[in-house]
Every structure is written in C-alpha cells, then in structure tokens.
C-alpha cells in the first residue's frame, strides 16, 4: 500500500532506475536488493524525501529500527510539504507503533489539505489513540505533552480537550484542567462530561467560578429533566457562598428527579446548615449517609448539626464513624 504512490513519482535516469528497482524489490519483499537500490538512489538524490521513506520502510522490515527511524526523520524533514511522503510516513509510524508521531504527521498532512475533513478526523483519532492507553494507566504527565500538542494541532476537537482536561485533573493541575473543560464546553456544550468533571473540583478554581456558574446554568436549562444540571448549578453557587435560597431550590429539584444520589442530599444539607436550619440539614445528611454510608464528610457534618440540635450522643456516634472512615482511608493510602 505504501509503495503504490511512490511508483508514480520515481524520477528519471540512474536515480529512476535505482528507485524503481528498489521499490519493486521492496514490494516483492526482496529486502536486501531493496536496501541496495534505495541506498544508491538516496545517494543520487539525497534531497528526495520519497526515497528516504521507502528506505525507512525497508530498514523497518529488516528490523534495523535505528536506521529506519533515521531514514524516516530525513523523509519528514525533506518531505514536509509533500503529501505523498506525509501519508507514507503516517503509515510507517503507525506500523512502527509510534502513534503520537503518526498523529503529528497526519496533522501536518491535514493542514496541507484543509478541505479534507477525513484527514483531520484521522489525525484526531491518532492523537487520541496515542493518549488513551497512557490515560488509562494513569500516566498523566506523559499524556499531557501529547494532548497539548494535539489540541494545538486540532483546536476544534472537543474529544482531545476533554482528554487534556482529564489528564490535568489527574495531575492536580486544576486551573489547566478547568481551562480544558471550559474549552470542551465551548466546542461541544451538549457533552455532559466536562460539567461533571468541573463539578469535582470547584473549590480549586475559585477565580473561574463565575464563568463556570454561567455554563452550569446553561447546562441546567438545556437539560431540564436531568438532576445533574440543578445539582451542579447549586454546587457552584455554594462554592461561592452566594444565593443559598436559589441553591436550596435547585437541589430540591435535583432530589425530586433523582432521590438516590447521596451528593445531592449532602449539598442540600450543607446549604440548610449554612442557613441554620439544622433539623432539615440533619434530615438531608441522614439521607445522604443512608445512600453512601462510607462517606466520611457526611458523618462529620451530621455530628456538627447533631451538636447544634443538642443531641450529643448522636453527634458522638457520627464523630466515631467519621474517625474510623478517615483512619481506614489513611491506611488504604499507605
């Protein structure tokens, strides 16, 4: 497959003879002949990127990987604007398991053919394929350079922005993560994941909260039947300690849609606690605790409201559960 376009462009005279002979040999899998002919051709026309990519392919088949990579690098350098060389390089790098390099070359090719949507999509896919295994292994620091390069090459990809956000979140680079998720929202506001991720670390991006709140409100309005929209909007308000009454209404709507989510009840309990409605707060924390008995924070908040309601024994019981869960979490971490 890689050789077909190259046949068409084999040059004249001695170079042509060697190049053609090399390509034919390569197609027949006569690798020694291919190497000899293509090496000769490369000496005759050292600035021809197409010879170098054919040579790279030959070396790879001969398991001469260092030479193959060297030849491919020359092809990349010499054929930077040659679509034939670039498409051949994509195949070479992909077959060699160098998916990120294949993506980089494919992106370069896509820039040369701006009307070819499929070329851009192929680059996006390759970038994602390069990053995904690293993301899954939690190798976030290795993933970020790939996805940063990817998002520069294909700035309109929501998928790549989302992946970049996840990688930054994994490394606790919260501001970068927020930036990536907000870009994702700008590109594809209908995708729920960036909203859900942002909702996980609102306390780490205080400066962005007003902007995030606007997006959460829009998400809520676009998804009136989803509890997540109301919940996230309320959570963003709570993170700024503003509009507690609005937050309470939103959370009650969320709970009416889905009564089985502990986080909604916890957040509602927190608002009621802040509004000093301790009995109602206790009910919500109790509900959250029944849905997720292993959440230490809920037990702590319950202990605090029980204290305020004059229930010291119940408070002590919750404090004990909180301490045990915290200790278990520390032990698991160690």
């Amino acid at each position: 497959m890689i050789l077909a376009p190259l046949f068409l462009f084999a040059a004249a005279a001695t170079f042509e003879d060697s190049f053609r002979a090399g390509l034919i040999a390569l197609q027949r899998n006569d690798l020694k002949t291919a190497q000899t002919e293509l090496a000769a051709a490369s000496k005759l026309a050292p600035g021809n990127g197409r010879v170098w990519i054919a040579l790279a392919q030959t070396y790879r088949k001969l398991n001469e990987f260092a030479l193959a990579n060297e030849a491919a690098a020359k092809a990349e350098q010499l054929g930077a604007k040659d679509t034939v060389v670039l498409t051949s390089l994509v195949i070479f790098y992909n077959e060699a398991g160098q998916t990120f390099r294949a993506a980089e070359v494919q992106a370069r090719y896509a820039r040369l053919v701006p009307n070819d949507t499929a070329a851009r999509e192929r680059a996006e896919t390759l970038y994602f394929e390069a990053a995904q295994p690293l993301l899954q292994q939690g190798k976030f620091s290795e993933t970020i350079p790939i996805l940063t390069s990817a998002s520069k090459a294909i700035p309109a990809s929501a998928q790549l922005q989302l992946a970049l956000g996840v990688a930054c979140y994994g490394l606790r680079r919260f501001d970068d993560a927020a930036a990536a998720f907000l870009k994702t929202i700008a590109l594809a506001p209908e995708i729920p994941q960036p909203y859900l991720f942002l909702g996980k670390f609102l306390d780490q991006v205080p400066a962005r909260l007003p902007e995030i709140t606007k997006h959460f409100l829009a998400f809520q309005k676009a998804n009136p039947d989803a509890f997540a929209g109301y919940y996230l909007h309320a959570k963003a308000l709570n993170a700024q300690s503003v509009e507690p009454e609005t937050a309470m209404i939103l959370l009650r709507k969320a709970a009416a849609i889905n009564d089985q989510d502990a986080a909604v009840h916890f957040e509602l309990g927190s608002v009621l606690d802040r509004l000093r409605q301790f009995a109602e707060a206790a009910s919500e924390f109790e509900r959250a605790s029944s849905l997720d008995p292993n959440d230490a924070a809920t037990h702590y908040r319950l202990s605090r409201v029980y204290d305020r309601l004059g229930k010291p024994e119940a408070a002590l019981a919750e404090r004990t559960k909180h301490a045990a869960l915290e200790q278990a979490a520390r032990a698991a971490k160690n």
Partner: protein, 539 residues
Amino acid sequence: MKRWCAILCASQCIAQNPLPQFRDMAREAGITQVVPNGGTTSKQFILETTGSGVALIDYDNDGKPDAFVASGPGSPSRMYHNEGRGKFRETTAELGLTRQGWAQGVCAGDYDNDGYTDLFVTYWGQNSLYRNVGGKHFEDVAGNLGLTQARTRYNTGCAFLDYDNDGKLDLFVANYLKFDFDSTPQPGANPYCFYRGIAVNCGPRGLPFDRNLLYHNQGGTFRDVSDASGISKPNGNYALGVLTADFDGDGLTDIYVACDQTPSILYINQGDGTFSEEALLRGAALDESGKALSGMGVAAADYLHEGRPSIFRTNFSDELETMYRNRGKGEFEDASIEAGLGQNTRFVGWGCGFLDFDNDGWPDLLLVNGHAFPEVDKLNIDVHYRERAILYRNNKGHFVDISEKAGPGITTRHSSRGLAIADIDDDGTEEILVNNQGEPPSLLRQTAKPSGHWITLKLTGVKANRSAIGARVRVTAGTLVQTAEVRSGGGYLSQSDFRLHFGLGSSTAVDRVEITWPGGAKQVVRGLEADRVTPIREQ
C-alpha cells in the same frame, strides 16, 4: 457648577478608600542579612522547610519596636535596633545573641516582670530563653530556669501566657515531630517522600509524632507541667503555629495550635491548672468536610465586630485558607467561603496576621506564602517555591483579595515563613516584617498614609503580668466597637508588637476603652484622643 461639585465629590469618595501600596523597605532600613534555612534549590530534610519566625518588640523601652529575625544554621538569629526615621541598626553581637542553630519560633513576654521584654526562641534542639538585662544585653537562662529538654526536640511555635492568672507568665511550646538526621529517610525513599511525582524531603506523614509542652512559671524557675495539665495528651498531631486567646469568654486563656496534615488542637483552659482538648467538638479541628488540613500559621481577630476572637489559619496548596468563625462560647464553624477566603488554593501559606492597613476599623488580613519544596519549580505548574503574599481587605466582615493591586511589597515573590506586625514609627500605619527563606527579610510599608484615624494602646500590667499578655480590650469610637487581646506568639512562629492598634475610621476620638485584665479586673478609660500612642497602666 453643580456638575463640577459632583465630580469633585466623587473623586473625594474614591480618594477616601484607595488601594494600599506596599513597598519593601528592608534594604533602606538596614535589614539586609540573608536568613539561611537549608537548601534553596533542594531540601533534603523537613527541618529545612519549617523555619523561621520574626519578632517586633521594644527590647530597650525606647518606645520603638525593634526587629528580631530567627535563622537557620549559617547565621545567628539577628536583632536590629529601631533607630527611628525608618532606620535599623544590627545589634546582634552587642546584645550577646550569638547562638547559631535551627531556630524556629520566637515569642516574647516579661516573664520575670522586671519591665523588660524577654525573648524565647525555639529550636530543633535546646530552646533559648533570653532574659533581657536592662535592655542592654540578653542572657540565655533556659538551662538555669528548668527549660532544658532531656532529648532533642523539634520545637516550633511558642507563646507566653498566664494560664492560671497568677501574674506570672507561663510558657507553651508546640512540638512538630520527632526528627533526627540519621534515621529520617532521604527524599524519594518512601511514598511520604514525593510531591506530585517528584522526590522531595520526607514528612511530616511517616515521621513520628511528638507532644506539646507547658511550663509553669514558679516565680524564678519553670516547671514542666505538660502531663499534669493535659497539654501532652494529644498524640497524633504535627504542631506548628500557636495562638492564645480567651476563645470561650470565661476569663481564662485557651490555646489553639495549627497542625500540619492532622487535626488542629484547641486546648480549653479548665481553670484548675488543666486543659481539655476540644477542637473537634468545637468545630476548629477540621475543614467543613471533616478533612484535616495542613495548618501552618494562625491568627485571631474579631473580624465581624461580634466581640469574639475568630481564628484564621494558613494551610497547604490545594487547600482553602480557613476562617473559623467564633459563634460564641468558643463554638466555631468553618466560615472560610462565606468570609470571602475561598479565593486562593495554589499557595502554601505560612505567616499571617490581622492589621487595619486603611484604619477603617475593620481588621484586614495579610498572609505570606512559599512552597515547602524548592523542587516544585521543576514541575512547571502554577505552584511555585517563591510566591507573592495575599492581602485581603475587610469590607465590613467580608474579605476581598486586593493582592495584585497592593504594590510590589505584596506581589514580589519570596518563600516566606514568619511575619510580625507593628507600627515601627508611630505614624498610625502598621509595618510588616517577613522572614524569607534564603533571602534577607522584607519590611513592608505603605507608600501613603491611610485617611482613617487610629489609636495605639500600650498596656502595662501591675497585678497582671507586666506585658499585659491576655488583657482583652474593647474600644468604642462612634458606632465602631472593636475588641482585641494582647498576645504572645501567634501567626507563624512569630511575635507582633504587644501594643494594640485600632483604626477609627472618621472618628477623631475614642469614646471608651474597656480593659479586662488577666484575672478579671476591669478598667474603663474614656475620651481618648485619636492618632497617638496612649499608655494605659493597670489600676
């Protein structure tokens, strides 16, 4: 004409509330010596990360606060005498302050009631109690007065306090953890020795806890009453900053200790020589989700004019700063977000203190920052070893971050630790001394005087301890009613001026000052003029 008047009025309104501009004047002032604290590009041990504090105290009773800077090895801790007109002169050697070592914290108090402020300096190793001999010399009397420790301890924050109201200052000393160079693992040696994937010095997790200490002043010597008083009971806390105050309003001094990666401690004074640790019960140990944060520095103020000291604590990066609002009787709630403090999570905060930089009668808040690990700079993230300070303006109980517009004194990056506050030239604006790791200290000063009026009260105890530590003051000026307390230690391992500074806004006089001296005696002074330092002696 009307239009011009309106423009003039608007410009005057703006001028009344301008943003402060802070500048670092340490160099011009003569405070120029570098403060070594271990490595500057890499720190092998946790001991290199925690030091050290500063103090602004008037050691020679000339009315002007002098500057003390605690230091790690490579330099003695230094004293700079306040010569007036913004100038300081180093007097370290002539005062006999020659000791070098891993100095950590500093707190002051006239423990022998001789009229001269003494200085206590904590160390990894034996602490020093510097008795002030007539304002001319300091002699280390720790060994003679019962303060020798049987083993090497990692002493950090400290405070003099009169916990039994007998007129003699006792001494509290926080201990961080058990540390020695030989047994502490090297960076990267175990999971506790990494930060975001890079090898850094180990701890505090993974290193053994130690216990805090209380020494009772027997009238000449000190006696270790840590066990008898219940102070040594908590055994699972990495203790750093110390703050004393009467948190529950019962007339007895309590002790709050900011703890790193573990619940903070609130010792409630039982009035019978014992303390009960009640931070968890009273809502001052954890954040509002029940997580123990990495507490470093700690300060108190009545930031809402409720007549009660609330607690502010600095924490690590990725954590909010904490404001524990005192709801009365020493019951606290985490009000950090409500107070406007949920703004900064990328800083590791250390020194902190309340000051009224605009003299509007509402205590503002300053904290200084700097990461524990210099290696963090290799990560190329938005967390840095050297960081700017954070200045919050108190807008009638709600804090607004004005750091970026508050001048180079605030925005210049350092890896700062302790800070102390005092009006060094009695002009009605408070200055701030900051200890910077591996650099000379900063002395932050406003470039223009704020428009608000002020009063500074210098209290002297007679039946109470001479330093008046523990005296609580309520100042009424027009509709402004403010409370504060004379305090030893506080912030991050540091000592601010004993004198209490109050902004008075537009009031040109103080209607009433009510002092509750340690022991409960009350004294009322009326009709004080503003814009001056006023001494008040216990009657």
